[in-house]
């Protein structure tokens, strides 16, 4: 489904990601781990078009038909072909309500133009209603429906993270990228989050690519794990392979 092919990202002299190869199959949950500054978020930024890789290709093929080279697309186009993400440093639309945050996730599917929307023509109203229902459903799903009218910045941290996931789900993604979804959560919340991720994966038929610091999350839900260190891929494999890989223990656990 997603094939990262020798992707390199340089910032001036810094090589944030170096010749990365990675492969994600449909329906998998794949983890990306590594110490701070290893280049994990940069990988997400390349996949979602925030950065254009200095070298290499990122091939996306959601339906087994045509290959799409993501490095040629803008972030909004990438969202439209079914890849959506959350951010490590939560990026909600702060001044907007919880409901509006999720509603905006639907906007990419809107067919009406701005005038049909302002005149509230039937075709627009129909879609708006559909968006509202979907947003409502997603908010209930993440347990934030009661807070729907509050401004999103006023939510506690854990809820903000869940809201970001709901907003991403509203875009109808096939591939969901989660950048440290459990950051700042206590063990109880982390447990709930893991169950939640498994749940949405099943319900929305998602493929999940996930960066995480909490080892138990990665080991618990990922079928496959990539380990980055200083931008270089040092290991890949299933959880038990990774856990017993001496290079990983040295680079990753040594730093922890």
């Amino acid at each position: 489904m997603l094939k990262i092919d020798k992707a390199t990202m340089r910032f001036g002299g810094v090589v944030a990601v170096n010749q990365l190869n990675a492969n994600i199959k449909e329906g998998e949950t794949v983890g990306l781990i590594g110490p701070n500054g290893a280049g994990k978020t940069t990988v997400f930024n390349m996949v979602t078009g925030v950065y254009k890789p200095t070298e290499g290709k990122i091939i996306y093929n959601p339906d087994g038909k045509k290959d799409i080279d993501l490095t040629l697309l803008r972030p909004d186009q990438i969202a439209k072909v079914g890849i959506c993400r959350t951010f490590q440093n939560i990026r909600l639309f702060k001044e907007l309500s919880v409901m509006d945050n999720v509603f905006i996730g639907n906007h990419l599917r809107l067919k009406s133009d701005v005038f049909s929307s302002a005149l509230r023509l039937p075709a627009y109203i129909k879609q708006e209603k559909e968006f509202m229902e979907k947003s409502k459903y997603l908010l209930e799903k993440v347990g934030l429906y009661e807070e729907r009218d509050e401004k999103s910045f006023s939510l506690p941290y854990g809820k903000q993270r869940r809201l970001e996931i709901a907003r991403a789900l509203a875009t109808d993604p096939k591939l969901l990228l989660l950048d440290e979804p459990a950051a700042g959560m206590n063990p109880q919340e982390t447990q709930e989050l893991m169950a939640f991720i498994a749940d949405i994966k099943k319900e929305f038929k998602l493929t999940i690519f996930l960066i995480e610091h909490h080892m138990e999350v990665v080991m618990g839900i990922c079928e496959k794990i990539y380990v980055l260190d200083h931008g270089v891929l040092i290991a890949e494999g299933n959880p038990s392979e990774i856990q017993n890989n001496p290079k990983v223990i040295e680079a990753y656990l040594g730093v922890e």
Binding site: T41, K80, R91, I104, R167
Partner: protein, 353 residues
């Protein structure tokens, strides 16, 4: 509950129309002029708020777009005779002389003219980065003014245009035995349409997308919002509204010339938007009324003041100084999250994780 809201809004609109009608009859022509200006500034304030407040861009080109609207409307509504009288230095282009349209059509043309230029200037600037939008629009607005000064066969240059046919309430004035005044309903109805349009736009999916862009561009585009398309759209609609506002101003003044469209005009509108609150429709309406009336009330500052024991010299521009100070105070002391977040965003645009 939804129907209740609709009913409430319809009642408010009817009351507003009735109020305008009563004011039209009871106020003298000077006061009617100020009330009319309030409607026009409401339109202009909302227009600027759409781009600066709701979309989080920073544009300073309003005087230019208004000038385009004003000249278009003037040239499309003035009679061939009036044009001949105006263009005594250099004759008007022949095809323009006989060009004439009903007022409403002319107003739409004025808006379209401004929208066209808005698109032409907005698209290339917003394609690069919107950091330069303020400078580009400011420059554009000055260039438009200079072109107007130099394009004598079309604009009559620095002499300006006089005798733009007014929209008076001649019919009712005759019935009541008054002299005709400006008909408040024209600008009033257009202001109401603008308010309704803005409310519907901002309530809908596009409005929310614009606010999302204001709040966080990186998140917005990661959610599939095409930043360029939405910004250009917002900018073009805003330009259209500014053109209509300029056209209405031309009609209500009866005379326009290039000095009217200096930067201070944009400044006045910015003042309305900042005092009213970036991204607030209600705030803009209230502040447009306060600022317009305030501008008139403070007019004495520009003239020489007799303090009893001495006569101060006339200080043209003192009014603007006072208003600028008010603007600065508003920016500093208002808890205006959006204005701050717009500034913050301008600074933090490159933090991308």
């Amino acid at each position: 509950m939804k129907n209740n809201n609709l009913l409430k809004n319809i009642i408010i609109i009817i009351l507003a129309l009735a109020l305008l009608f009563i004011l039209n009859i009871t106020l003298d022509s000077y006061k009617v002029r100020i009330v009319n200006l309030c409607s026009i500034y409401i339109i202009l304030g909302l227009s600027m708020n759409l781009i600066n407040g709701f979309t989080g861009l920073f544009s300073l080109g309003h005087a230019g777009f208004m000038a385009l609207g004003a000249y278009t409307v003037a040239l499309l509504t003035m009679s061939p005779q009036a044009k001949e009288v105006n263009f005594y230095m250099e004759p008007i282009l022949p095809f323009l002389k006989d060009l004439n349209m009903p007022f409403v059509l002319a107003l739409i043309m004025g808006g379209l003219m401004a929208a066209l230029f808005g698109f032409l200037i907005g698209a290339p600037v917003l394609k690069l980065t919107d950091d330069y939008l303020a400078i580009a629009t400011l420059g554009f607005s000055e260039i438009i003014r200079i072109i107007i000064i130099n394009l004598q066969p079309i604009t009559n240059g620095a002499l300006g245009l006089k005798g733009i046919p007014p929209k008076n309430n001649a019919f009712f004035a005759a019935m009541l035995g008054q002299t005709p005044k400006i008909n408040l309903l024209w600008a009033g109805v257009i202001a109401i349409i603008t308010i309704v349009f803005m409310n519907l736009l901002m309530k809908g999916s596009y409005g929310k997308a614009l606010k999302a862009i204001r709040e966080d561009e990186i998140a917005a585009r990661s959610m599939g919002i095409n930043l360029f398309r939405h910004k250009v759209m917002s900018f073009t609609i805003s330009s259209f509204m500014a053109g209509v506002g300029g056209g209405l101003l031309a009609i209500s003044l009866g005379t326009i010339d290039p000095t009217l469209f200096k930067f201070s005009l944009t400044w006045n509108i910015l003042l309305i938007v900042v005092i009213g609150g970036m991204g607030s429709i209600k705030g803009t309406i209230i502040s447009a009324i306060i600022v317009t009336i305030g501008m008139e009330a403070l007019r004495f500052l520009d003239e020489s003041i007799n303090l009893g024991f001495m006569q101060t010299p006339a200080l043209p521009g003192l009014r603007m100084v006072v208003f600028s100070i008010i603007l600065m105070m508003a920016v500093i002391f208002k808890k205006d999250n959006i204005f701050k977040s717009t500034l913050k965003k301008a600074r933090g645009r490159y933090a991308k994780d």
